[in-house]
Symmetry: C2
Subunit: 66 residues, 2 copies
């Protein structure tokens, strides 16, 4: 399976916010993550990077534009 873990950058560190993420949708003012198990999480962040080989999604809080 191809699910990935989603991490949010906080104070320079990556904090796990949701495991086994199956899909992500960018909505006004954030992203909605959905896990394989049907768990849904809305976060005020944008997708900064993702690596499908590492199964990793990195989110950056909105307002922290680089």
């Amino acid at each position: 399976m191809c699910e990935s873990n989603a991490y949010l950058i906080k104070g320079g560190e990556e904090e796990l916010v949701l495991e086994s993420v199956e899909s992500i949708e960018a909505t006004g003012g954030g992203v909605t993550l959905t896990s394989l198990f049907g768990e849904e999480k809305r976060i005020r962040a944008r997708i900064k990077a993702l690596s499908l080989v590492e199964h990793k999604i990195v989110l950056e809080p909105l307002g922290a534009e680089s």
Copy 2:
């Protein structure tokens, strides 16, 4: 493997921009896609949605905020 195809929304349709995408990085003013085969593409777009089960990444041109 978990690589996905990346599509760019153009005129309401999804146009394939890169196959076998392995990683994506959001940079100032766009995203950089890298394929499993080392091909790299920079696009002035943001990630609108992704489905890891469907192996699909959907990009939206910058300036077309919903």
